[in-house]
Homo-oligomer: 408 residues x 2
């Protein structure tokens, strides 16, 4: 154990160049311990998450390497002795100091930065993962890019994308990136690649999450794309340098994409596409979820239609509708009480604003139908409301305005 | 007024050949009065609906033709004197006995049948329209076809359909009709025509609703198609023979399509397609509503995506999913209590059935994830449940079975 958690001085040396500033003794040991935990476990290990949250990473690490009965562990977590034993049995084989230190060496050579919870650039959204949150993130590129994850949208989809899918992914991504929305994806072939490339071409921000170590571009054919993403944004991974991507790590990488982005949109996906796993994570996290429909005759869109049917995803057809999706995070805004005022006129105003949407443009005739007022009355009152800034005209119709600044 | 509502003997003569059997005095006058009302009003006139419901068609007709103040009308309805006056002013110009009688002559020459509420073949679903229900229906073809409206689906969409839209309409219609579902539509060019034709070609049942008189095929180019629909099913209209289709009558015809069919599906529709009006009626009536998605790059599918986004329609991609939509009418079936039994095994069975759907096929791994049980346990218990007929296997997954016979 002494061998495993080094002295503060040694820890500081091992971390040189990987973290911002000069960590003090306590910080250096904590950083090293978090890194060690990321080496011991597979991503998303909830038992490890609970133990580290309860004891702190250093004491939790000591508990794993200790042979004595884990009283502190069972006292401070609600794990049973058997659960602890099973977890410890799966972590112990990776308790190899040389490999843990080696991963740091690779990170330094690859010029990666290590981010841990509490760091200035640590994405707050990851807190929503609870005990499944990553212990740290490795960043290739600029950790500062992560402050731009609000607003952000994950555009994900199948590797085996059709021309339609890649076209739509590129259009949406360029439009979102052009409006200041960071495009998050997984750097895979197909939809992911089209989304990253279009965001870069539009001069926008894009962030890639890798399933393997951030030191190794994957897929290899996207080495140059991943380099470009790192140059203008960030390439992230929670697994130690040198880790190959595995099926499990892809699935867990998907949970990070879903958690980091403000909303997830499946652009094109077959019935069993891995991007449906990202969609499921987004739904489980309560993140807004959308899917781009396609021809029902195309197997490449069947997964998107599953998201609409089975995951209660929202049908989105353009960037504006995706930005509306981000607005779903502020449900209270859509539910404001109508302002009160005097006289019968107010009733008509209320009926008209009640008949309108904050999101959807409606024609005057439609507002008349919904409010039960004559079109001429509606037109007159819309004019008044428009002068007050309570409604706006556009897209051949009217909608209500929100009382706060809008994303995008 | 005497001139307008004829003696029973005259009424019987005028109705000869138009109704089943020989109506007695009372029935003959009621039938004539209902027909007269259908001539006085535009379809869906809610004031007329209330007055006729309150006074009966004969007395209501007398009130319209009478010059004296309408005490009985205001006493038995909640209309104001001004409302009554406005309504009467719009009905009186059509109080022309010759035209009312003439419409019956045309109906007889066209070999139509007249159906009124209470008739054996009157579709009970129309009751849901309340005061906007039609006074009668003219049937070209077999009134008996209307008993087959359960189950039925309205397949509607744009006249200016794409090859994709017509292809999908035909596929869905043939599949639904082949499974015994009556396909309801509006006999228009494009999606409507493709749906009717495919249902006929599949040897299934199809019903067309016209916006003008049932005596005049519209559009003219579909005269032969409408003849074929009448030959094997029914062509319906609520407006008197000789009435041309108007914009208003198209919109009101759409309410009949939505009300008559068990569910409405928009197959392909542009942003402002009239079929969205049918969708809005279906939504207002609480009928299940679906839309077939298409490429977001195609303006021809923009209306379908509106149905998904703005009308909360369900995304449907094949006939089986449309039949599921009909199942939404029986929500209690999806909510059955789990059968009880002895021992811990029952808990696992319950967890597994809780993790399953009556509608959606789920893979074993998904059921394991949802139930929190090991895949091997899930497989074993699914086997037992399958022997009991509580679950079925198919489509690469499992789903629960319903305790009643299934549509299709």
């Amino acid at each position: 154990m002494i061998d495993f958690l080094p002295s503060p001085a040694v820890a500081r040396t091992l971390l040189t160049g990987l973290v911002a500033g000069e960590p003090d003794d306590e910080a250096a040991r904590r950083l090293f311990a978090l890194h060690a935990w990321s080496c011991l476990v597979e991503p998303g290990d909830g038992v490890a998450g609970r133990v580290v949250a309860a004891l702190g990473p250093e004491a939790a690490l000591a508990a794993v390497s200790s042979e004595s009965p884990p009283h502190t562990v069972l006292e401070t977590t609600d794990l049973t002795a058997a659960q602890w034993q099973r977890a410890r049995d799966r972590w112990r084989p990776r308790l190899v100091a040389r490999e843990v230190r080696n991963a740091l060496e690779i990170a330094r050579h690859s010029e990666l930065a290590m981010l841990v919870p509490g760091d200035r650039h640590w994405p707050a959204a990851l807190t929503d993962l609870g005990q499944h949150a990553p212990f740290l993130l490795w960043v290739r590129g600029d950790p500062g890019a992560l402050v731009h994850l609000t607003p952000s949208v994950a555009l994900v989809g199948a590797r085996a994308a059709s021309g339609y899918g890649e076209h739509v992914a590129a259009e949406l991504s360029a439009d979102l990136a052009g409006r200041g929305v960071t495009v998050v994806s997984g750097a895979a072939y197909g939809i992911d690649g089209a989304a990253h490339r279009a965001a870069l071409a539009a001069g926008g921000r894009t962030v890639a999450l890798l399933a393997g170590g951030a030191d190794q571009p994957y897929p290899r054919g996207h080495s140059e794309l991943i380099r470009q993403i790192a140059q203008s944004g960030a390439v992230l991974s929670e697994v130690p340098c040198g880790s190959p991507p595995t099926k499990w790590r892809f699935l867990q990488r998907n949970r990070l994409i879903a958690a980091l982005a403000g909303a997830t949109v499946v652009v094109e996906a077959g019935w069993r596409s891995g991007s449906l796993n990202t969609a499921a994570h987004a739904a489980a996290l309560g993140r807004p979820l959308g899917a781009v429909p396609g021809p029902v005759t195309s197997a490449s869109s069947a997964g998107c239609h599953r998201v609409l049917r089975e995951f209660d995803g929202r049908c989105v057809t353009n960037a504006a509708e995706i930005i509306e999706l981000l607005g779903d995070l502020e449900p209270t805004l859509f539910d404001l009480p109508s302002p009160s005022g005097g006289g019968g006129r107010t009733d008509d105003r209320t009926r008209i604003t009640d008949a309108m949407s904050f999101r959807t443009w409606r024609e005057t005739t439609e507002i008349a139908r919904r409010s039960g007022l004559a079109p001429a009355e509606v037109t007159a009152i819309l004019g008044l409301l428009s002068l007050e800034g309570a409604v706006v005209n556009g897209n051949g119709g009217w909608r209500r305005t929100r009382p706060v600044a809008q994303t995008g």
